[in-house]
Symmetry: C2
Subunit: 145 residues, 2 copies
């Protein structure tokens, strides 16, 4: 397969595939002239990358995770535990947001449960984890007609 085929089937722009190669995450089976050639296996690899990425691994970490000796199970376990903590935090946050949204007090200053949340934040700030948003997948350019 040419890179455009992989791009289409994986739903990723070719530029991303080149970038992943540069980072050592994927590799073409060879070249046809200049052109990278791939077989089906790369699709599975990309799927795997997609999954662990959505679990919060950075590309560098994924490089280590998928190192020579197969999947690093320790990293997986560690990340699972991290996810557990994250999930707990997010659930609490979600409840607080709902409560704040429903609270009839005209300003958040008058809502006792929100007060408590703020006090907790004042005591030991979170700041250890951020959750950026989707960013809307601005896909464009470099497309096979």
């Amino acid at each position: 397969m040419d890179i455009a085929d992989v791009a289409q089937r994986a739903g990723l722009p070719a530029s991303t595939l080149r970038y992943y190669e540069e980072k050592g995450l994927i590799a073409p089976t060879g070249r046809h002239g200049l052109r990278r050639q791939y077989d089906e296996a790369v699709l599975e690899r990309l799927a795997l990358i997609g999954v662990v990425r959505s679990a919060g691994f950075s590309l560098d970490e994924i490089g280590r995770l998928l190192g020579e000796r197969g999947l690093d199970r320790e990293m997986l376990t560690a990340r699972a535990e991290e996810l557990d903590r994250t999930i707990t935090e997010l659930a609490a946050l979600r409840d607080s947001l709902r409560h704040a949204a429903a609270c009839p007090a005209p300003t958040h200053r008058e809502c006792p449960s929100f007060q408590q949340l703020l006090r907790a934040e004042l005591d030991h700030p979170v700041r250890t984890r951020t959750f950026p948003r989707p960013a809307g997948i601005a896909r464009s350019g470099e497309r096979r007609s």
Copy 2:
């Protein structure tokens, strides 16, 4: 209070406070010469910002969220629902990671449940949400002796 006092009490570097001001999220009560002066209220404001930030709002969104007319409850509700979806996804992911870590198959290719996960990713890639990691809070410079 001088900015260094706020910084210390909020656990944020002064540069961040200036940046938040530039983004319209906080404001000093006035100036003493050049120096920004703050009262206690800014600490509560910063705590609020910290909370909603950890719930996934970007600084720009926080600007809108905390607009003139108080907290925007619609935004809060929408974000709570988003968090719900996120939590569900993360929980599934966590289970998959645990399973993959525990799976005795020598390579992930031979683990049926991981296979299924990959197939799902192949069919409809996630790619709609990423979860960057802590980044280690590289705090330094600009400190009161």
